[in-house]
């Protein structure tokens, strides 16, 4: 199946009897679900959506018009990224990502709530300001200080990778492209534990499968800054 994004005027491709993910190659939220699917070895088809010229049929899948959306072969639909990720973890029992202990599970969710500050700072620094907002970079480091302090084991999930690790990964993947786009440097001395975690995550099969090369991220971002986002960049 082609990775090229479906745009306005296109027809919805017919089902292949497989689980389907509606996605966009550069969307960090979609990547969350790709990471979960990869971690759990789930077989699926991807339909990439051009978010800048949405196909009319897509609104029937997700009335918010957002990605990601997961569709079961029988037409059941689940969105957005966190609900879909948890649904997949509930539906497919192997390689469980949700902590068994209710308190650990709650802590993972609260970690994600706090992560919003990192996400918004990164957006401001990049797409939001075409790489010009230096204050946003500083805000991102301040927000990351908390995560540096919270990392007690090899992963945020403890000894093993858990949902929180995968939910946050896409923004860490976009750190080096953000540095290149903003002409800044990642302060390694400030974040030794996070640096080690990033390296560990790079070795994870799920990350290897779902991550994009930083150069492709940079290339896409530049098309975005130019006002003409090319969602098929790199294909």
């Amino acid at each position: 199946m082609s990775e090229k994004a479906y745009s306005k005027g296109s027809s919805c491709p017919s089902g292949q009897g497989k689980l389907r993910l509606y996605s966009m190659r550069f969307c960090p939220y979609s990547e969350r679900v790709r990471l979960v699917l990869a971690h759990k070895d789930i077989d699926y088809d991807t339909i990439n959506i051009n978010l800048y010229s949405k196909p009319e049929w897509y609104l029937e899948k997700n009335e918010r018009g957002a990605v990601p959306t997961v569709e079961q072969p029988d037409g059941r639909l689940v969105y957005d990224s966190v609900v879909a990720s948890e649904y997949l973890d509930d539906f497919f029992m192997q390689n469980r990502l949700t902590p068994d202990d209710p308190y650990d599970k709650a802590c993972g969710k609260l970690l994600l709530e706090k992560f919003g500050k990192v996400q918004s700072a990164q957006y401001k620094a990049g797409f939001g300001s075409k790489g010009q907002d230096k204050d946003a970079i500083q805000d991102m480091w301040v927000a990351l200080d908390f995560f540096e302090s919270q990392l007690k084991g090899d992963f945020f999930g403890g000894n093993n990778i858990k949902m929180a690790d995968l939910m946050m990964w896409p923004w860490f993947e976009r750190l080096s492209p953000t540095m290149e786009l903003t002409n800044e440097k990642f302060p390694m001395d400030r974040f030794p534990k996070l640096q080690a975690w990033v390296e560990r995550m790079h070795e994870q099969p799920a990350v290897k499968k779902a991550a994009l090369d930083p150069r492709i991220h940079v290339g896409y971002s530049r098309t975005h800054f130019d006002g003409n986002p090319d969602v098929d960049h790199g294909l």
């Binding site: 609900v83 509930d90 308190y103």
Partner: protein
């Protein structure tokens, strides 16, 4: 334990080991969600009401976001109403509120997550003192989705679920909104929601945590002055 809200400078009463405590505010709809869950599951708990305008230092140590509800027991702290409610439902097995079917669970989460589209215009209407008809229409438009999705007696099906409790507190406040706007929720536009509201008002848990329109009105009026009276309605000798 007194229900009076504790403010800055107050001493935090110690929490006994093994006991579960809820940090709350009597009129907070988010904290009400968690109260409904606690009552539904018959979980024994004590309440500390917090003055959210003059926040005590100990409160900010528990939740740096400075918001209620917070659930605390045995050195464990959980906040954010949705997180607290899921936590309680997983920890205590009585009267489960999360659907066993994982797809139903996901669909209910979608409706819960989308509810901010209702609460945002809800507060806009209240802040405009009901004068802006366009804002009221915006609110009704957001409710249309929930009317459409309510195909069973409760959002949870034949019995109520977490989602019913997550939505309820704002519907409880529609009475005071009607007084402010001069317009009750149109039953012909929202027949299912209207019937659901009547059903919910019969639930023992809802009756236990509910306030009258007058009480909501008294709190809202005090809120509008800039000095919220968190203790409105409490007896003077408590």
């Amino acid at each position: 334990m007194s229900q009076k809200a504790l403010a800055k400078g107050s001493t935090l009463p110690p929490l006994e080991k093994g006991k579960l405590r809820l940090y709350s505010m009597r009129f907070c709809p988010y904290a009400q969600r968690t109260r409904l869950v606690l009552e539904h599951k018959n979980i024994p708990y004590e309440t500390i009401n917090v003055n959210l305008k003059e926040k005590p230092d100990w409160f900010l140590e528990k939740n740096p976001l400075g918001l209620v509800p917070i659930v605390e027991h045995d050195d464990k702290i959980v906040y954010e109403s949705a997180v607290c409610d899921d936590y309680l439902d997983e920890l205590f097995k009585t009267n489960p509120l999360t659907p066993a079917d994982v797809y139903r669970k996901a669909r209910e989460r979608i409706l819960a997550d989308g509810f901010h589209k209702v609460t945002t215009p809800f507060y806009k209407v209240l802040r405009s003192k009901g004068q802006d008809k366009e804002l009221l229409e915006e609110f009704y438009k957001a409710l249309d989705r929930y009317e459409k999705d309510l195909t069973e007696p409760f959002f949870g099906g034949n019995n109520l679920s977490m989602l019913d409790y997550h939505l309820w507190p704002w519907f409880e406040r529609l009475g005071i909104m009607a007084k402010i706007t001069g317009q009750a929720l149109p039953k012909d536009r929202f027949p299912c929601l209207s019937a659901w509201m009547d059903r919910m008002k019969q639930e023992p848990t809802v009756r236990k945590t509910m306030f009258s329109n007058e009480m909501h009105g008294a709190f809202l009026s005090s809120f509008a002055t800039g000095t919220p009276d968190y203790d409105v309605g409490l007896d003077a000798n408590l």
